[in-house]
């Protein structure tokens, strides 16, 4: 008796029903996986500028610890003080302001980075063209594609017309893109003088110690690149956390209903066999194993289907909505797998009760 995989055979005895059940649970898990993958993708994209920056330390206005949706104003006088501190290899200002790239064909929200030409803060690498000269802008190749722009074309930004001098990559996300202009151009366009948004600093030695030294000397907020990047990710996580909780709960509840339905239907159609097993002396544990193995087969297959669909959707979204990166990390998969096992256990409850209550005599009454 022990070697016969009754649960698996029961589940797949009617393949169409098994496929419907697995697809139902798979679709519910797909919802949870997709949301996690979209948030992961957004987090990776939103920190791209920071993660690829040569800066060891990011300095901002006191109380400011990230860039996305933040406003920071630091007096340029602090730049001189920071450069004079021991352990500072270099320090450069950047202006960072929200605006939008606009053409006759469309608009894209953009953070404009104003940097000093030849110094850190600009695009790390260009896929085409060159760094911006006066009145010129470097934009991301993905947004260039969606707006139908190429090097040498004109684009509206900061209420002015700019010529595109080059294309960068990997800086367009779900919500916005990044554009680079000269520091002086951005300051003039926004009528700013004597301030910068952030100061980027290179460290001689330990970046954490330098960050601490800068804060102590200036009162400004100074974080290492890793800390700054983590703060940026925390913003995305905090903004999406509650919506994710609601969607995840809905996804798991739907999954629970489908798995309960699948197991219940499969159990009901094989109730006579359960009676035979009982009549032959099968203990409740053996019957429970049969139901639980069906549950595990269902969620296992459903998880595999959901993973496959997530990868397929990532490809489709990549082609149709290029700025929605979908990144599935092992942590998310592990969390969804754990959730699926809980679903399997809960979904098995009603069929278990039904099987345990089967009277072996029913076999002979039919």
């Amino acid at each position: 008796m022990g070697g016969v995989p009754v649960g698996r055979r029961n589940l797949f005895s009617d393949r169409r029903r098994a496929v419907l059940g697995i697809a139902g649970v798979g679709v519910a898990l797909l919802m949870v996986l997709m949301l996690a993958a979209i948030v992961n993708g957004a987090m990776r994209q939103v920190t791209r500028y920071i993660d690829t920056s040569p800066a060891d330390v990011f300095v901002a206005q006191r109380g400011v610890t990230n860039m996305h949706m933040a406003s920071s104003a630091v007096p340029l006088a602090d730049l001189t003080r920071i450069r004079a501190l021991p352990g500072v290899a270099w320090a450069e200002p950047i202006l960072y302001l929200p605006d939008a790239l606009a053409t006759a064909g469309g608009r894209q929200v953009a953070y404009v980075v104003g940097y000093v030409p030849g110094q850190p803060g600009g695009p790390v690498s260009l896929v085409r063209g060159r760094a911006p000269g006066p009145g010129q802008v470097v934009i991301d190749q993905r947004v260039a594609g969606s707006l139908g722009l190429k090097v040498g074309d004109s684009v509206r930004l900061l209420a002015r017309t700019w010529r595109i001098s080059g294309l960068a990559s990997g800086l367009t996300n779900l919500a916005n893109t990044v554009a680079f202009v000269r520091f002086t151009d951005l300051a003039a366009a926004r009528n700013l003088s004597g301030i910068t948004s952030y100061i980027l600093a290179g460290a001689r030695g330990d970046p954490a110690r330098l960050a601490h030294r800068i804060t102590a000397a200036t009162g400004l907020s100074a974080l290492t690149r890793a800390q700054f990047s983590a703060q940026e990710r925390a913003l995305v996580q905090d903004m999406s956390a509650q919506l994710l909780q609601i969607m995840n709960l809905a996804g798991y509840l739907i999954g629970l209903a489908v798995i309960a339905l699948t197991l219940y239907a499969a159990t009901l159609s094989r109730l006579r066999e359960a009676g035979v097993m009982k009549a032959l002396g099968a203990r409740p544990v053996r019957l429970a194993n049969v139901v639980l193995s069906q549950a595990l087969w269902t969620v296992g297959a459903a998880l595999a289907a959901a993973l496959g669909l997530t990868f397929a959707l990532a490809v489709v979204l990549g082609r149709t909505a290029g700025n929605v990166p979908v990144v599935l990390d092992p942590g998310s998969v592990a969390r969804v797998a754990a959730g699926a096992i809980v679903l399997a256990a809960l979904g098995a409850l009603a069929p278990l009760v039904r099987v345990w209550r089967v009277d072996p005599m029913t076999v002979f009454r039919r």
Partner: protein, 366 residues
Amino acid sequence: MGTQVPVAWRNILAERRRLAIAVLGAGLAVALILLLEGLWSGLLTQISAYPDHVRATFFVRQPGAKTLSEGVVPVSAAGRVRAVPGVAAAGPVLTRWVVLDLHGRKQVVTVVGFTPGSLGGPWALAAGRTVGADGEVVIDRTLAAEHAITLGGTLGVTGRSFRVVGLSSGTRSFMGTGYLFMSLHSAQAMFGAENTATFVLVRAAGPVAVRAAIAGRTGLSVASPDLVAAAEQNLYAGIMGKIFNLMVVIAFAAGTLIVALTVYSAISDRLGEYGIAKALGARRGRLFRIVAGQTTVLSGLALIAGLLLYLGGSRLITALWPQFQIELTFRALGVVTVAALLMGMLAALVPTRRVARLDPASVYRR
């Protein structure tokens, strides 16, 4: 086999526990579609809350600016606007995103700097008073409650301390962000934006003539609040719309699979009866009507269950997370009704194939 026998109804009611799980599962999918549609409607309403409620006739902005946070104008522009005949009031407003760190969580707010006593301040106060001087803020009441911020207490914003003098209502926005009102001088000092604003709000009589006169005198663009609201909604709809639509499609697929699984299981359990019906001369059309009748009954029950689950779920969500506004619109009701009907029709496909392929002679083999 007369047509007066409600076979579909009897078949679906034969196993009531399975029916209950199915109605609950498909109802959850319907409720999720309603919830997504409701959240989306609420989101759009929240996004345009400022232009919708600020009681201005025009937004005077930098040419090319579309959304609320774009552009920069000199504060002096407000004086030139006031001099236009027909202008009753004009006030410069500076808006910027700021990320607050509250109890270890990042909270994005839109700082609105306005001239106390002029246009641009909070439109509905739940407690306290509006901003009367520098160093004072009015914060959304739900945001304040989430973070235990009380009237008369202090709030740190980018390293500066403000006294909370009022709690506003209806001032939450996109993805849980909220408005934070302060004086124009406070905002300018905080952002290092002396003598500049983002736009000038105007209240005027005889709007058509006044609009042309303002544009002519200042060289700035003049937009109605409706236009600003539409631009805000378009911007965020573009960002989040794809994700919401994807989730609606997934919820629809889950609901369809649940209905299909239930009816398929009900038919499989009574395959003998269908064989007899075929042997007695029931045509395909009659059998399809029986299957479609079951899926339609189930979809109808799921629609009712979904509405009830939605009513309970939406109340729970807004009680737990008051930053979410959920609005049930006629459009949303129409969408789910059509979705439920479609679910029923699509779900009939697999069970119909099963019945259509059934050999009447199989009845005698059982």
